[in-house]
Symmetry: C2
Subunit: 412 residues, 2 copies
């Protein structure tokens, strides 16, 4: 026999947007519509801020067509917040839940959200208020424990793979150095996705630098030099989170080295989005020119920025899993007085299949998953074939690339 | 009666890549296959450098499948160069043409390429060597005279519209300021395309700054302040080429103002890709915080960089016109001893139709087309509905966007 409890449900989204966060909450709504215990489905506006200020929108009152279109829309129509609740906030939220007989809470977010939900859950138990609390995994960083991968990652990875596929072909036209800096401060999954755009062994990114690996400027310059000597060009993917062996961010290392831009007061500028890419480009350019490898290096750096997580093109697998994980969370709410974090498990690589599981909130709360060693090349400046097998199914089909057959050279 | 001349054809691509430059030269090849006077079709590798060094690939020897795939591939499989030929270079090229009985030359590029072809053409006439020379328009900047728009622009504009559509929804989640810097040093067409991603009057970009309009930092800060007060957020599209009323690049103005980053020697850093976005963000942040509009402004800046011109997703119209313009150029080569630049003319907006025309090389050579006044809002910080009508058909359909119906707010 399953315990039932009649009441309202609240859905909220937290943290940085992804291309499929809306798909996840639409999935929750779809799932909850099958549950007659759910009296109302409210969306909190701006995450937990909306709960505390009782700022809700009626999700059952949205048209089916609106919900369908929203499921294709990047970022979160429920808006977001980065607020971490303190004890007072938790009490305030519980007061709101009790006042409106909200018995079901669905938080779509990363490990912070799982942690917040866990704390709220404990507080509800103390009050002996029955609350069913579910965390629905979400992050482009792909850094949640218990998950093979997280909704949001596949679409962001698709964008990064496509962007590098394009800039690699662009770089081929003129030669020279190109550095692209990707999101992911602590986990290298998104930077690694740059490699998924390759179509041949000559394709860039020729080098991939992950935050999991201590970064050395000297080794970096040597790596680029070796690739440049071979291909007359070099495309590099770099994580924004690279640090040296003492965990000093590379921008700070460059600053000590006198390589970094300073502001008008002579202060080091760390926050600028373009600073890391520009500084790395300047560093390598100086090195290769001084070493006489090339007289004047054509060198460019881009920082991919916010477009990575919000580009309006979902990976089909990512979209399906985001919707599915939302529906799965809703179905769990029917299984008695339980709570947990909804995660994705891979069943097989080829053909790719996955399933969903419910794990304790504490297993995900506040922890960070990093790239496993088997995904990082022994040379530490690239990814492995194991990563390629892992990543390929998540980003979906890419458009065809045609390469000129240079064996048909005209003999003069 | 049409003059015929038997001989070889050479195709080459010059300047910055686009998403459809390959489609254009594949179009030329397709067209030339219908002409029995064409004995061979050679592709010069790296533009005019390949002509001078007799570095050719046999394009007739490529498989049909390869050519088809290449037509979908961004950048140029024939590679590129930015070299402008001098008198010696022109003579060298003509020597190569005469040596191999090359009678047809197709250059795909911008106004520089048109100029180069015009000069080669004059030199051939002097030698009384019959050469049929065609320029095929290409540039993401969309700044060629005689063209309604140029192949390459539609796909780059599609990318910029999509990117802004995404970052606008992202910005909506948290509020604050977002500035995106777009390509286009002298013409604002690509920056203007940011507006094509809007789905409602509240959508960003709320402000669009074009290189055609003198830029004032003070007015810029006021504009952002007004939008921020209304929407609690502001999304801005800025051209990399903005200048003040004395034609000083804004980065230099910011430098004088002490706002700009300097390198370790105290020199102003102008070339860094992230510098303009970062500096504008800092400028406005300081202004809004000092003015007490907001205590701590959430402010982000991205520079869209090379991905704009090489993202592997073609606008369908752009693709079709690029192929078509290439075929048109090939067909012109059958019409006697002529030469010229192949351009696109718009016939109607709705339904959108266009046609091709051949114009004198000199009409396009070395000239720059800028945004017409009717496309620039009287406020000078936005585009007009006329621009939207102009741009919309060029980028193709965009994926659906769903907006939450906030009129269904829960009454507490």
């Amino acid at each position: 026999m399953v315990d039932t409890i009649k009441g309202k449900a609240v859905i909220f989204t937290q943290g940085g947007p992804t291309a499929v966060i809306n798909a996840s909450w639409v999935g929750v709504v779809q799932g909850l519509m099958l549950n007659s215990d759910i009296e109302e489905i409210w969306g909190a506006i701006n995450g937990i801020d909306g709960i505390m200020s009782e700022n809700f929108v009626d999700l059952k009152a949205q048209t089916a067509a609106t919900l369908q279109d929203i499921s294709y829309t990047p970022a979160s129509q429920l808006r977001s917040t980065r607020k971490k609740p303190n004890a007072d906030d938790n009490n305030k939220m519980l007061d709101v839940f009790q006042k409106h007989n909200i018995r079901y809470a669905f938080g779509i977010g990363g490990n912070d959200t799982s942690e917040s939900l866990d704390i709220i859950n404990d507080a509800a138990r103390e009050r002996e208020y029955e609350l069913r609390v579910f965390h629905v995994a979400k992050t482009v960083d792909n850094d949640l424990m218990e998950n093979d991968h997280t909704p949001g990652y596949g679409s962001a990875a698709r964008y990064v793979a496509n962007a590098f596929r394009g800039v690699n072909l662009d770089n081929q036209c003129f030669g020279g150095l190109y550095i692209g800096v990707c999101m992911g401060r602590h986990a290298g999954f998104l930077t690694a996705a740059a490699a998924l755009g390759r179509t041949s062994p000559e394709d860039g990114p020729h080098l991939v630098y992950l935050p999991e690996v201590p970064f050395s400027l000297e080794q970096f310059a040597k790596d680029v030099e070796a690739v440049y000597k071979k291909h007359n060009r070099c495309v590099v993917a770099v994580s924004e989170g690279i640090e040296d062996d003492k965990h000093t961010p590379i921008l700070q290392v460059l600053a000590k080295d006198g390589q970094l831009e300073c502001d008008s007061h002579g202060n080091v500028q760390l926050s600028g989005t373009g600073a890391l890419a520009d500084s790395l480009v300047n560093y390598v350019k100086e090195h290769l020119e001084k070493a006489g490898v090339v007289k004047k290096l054509r060198a460019r750096g881009d920082t991919f920025g916010y477009v990575q997580r919000s580009f309006p093109e979902q990976s089909p697998v990512d979209r399906e899993e985001a919707l599915g994980l939302g529906r799965f969370a809703a179905s769990c709410a029917q299984s008695g007085n339980i709570d947990g974090s909804c995660a994705i498990v891979r069943v097989s690589d080829e053909p790719y299949t996955s399933e969903f599981k419910l794990v304790p909130l504490k297993n995900v709360a506040g922890k960070t998953r990093r790239m496993p060693e088997e995904f990082i090349a022994p040379t530490k400046n690239n990814v492995t074939e194991a990563f390629m097998r892992y990543g390929r199914p998540l980003i979906g089909e890419m458009s065809p690339i045609g390469l000129l057959d240079f064996s048909k050279k005209v003999k003069i």
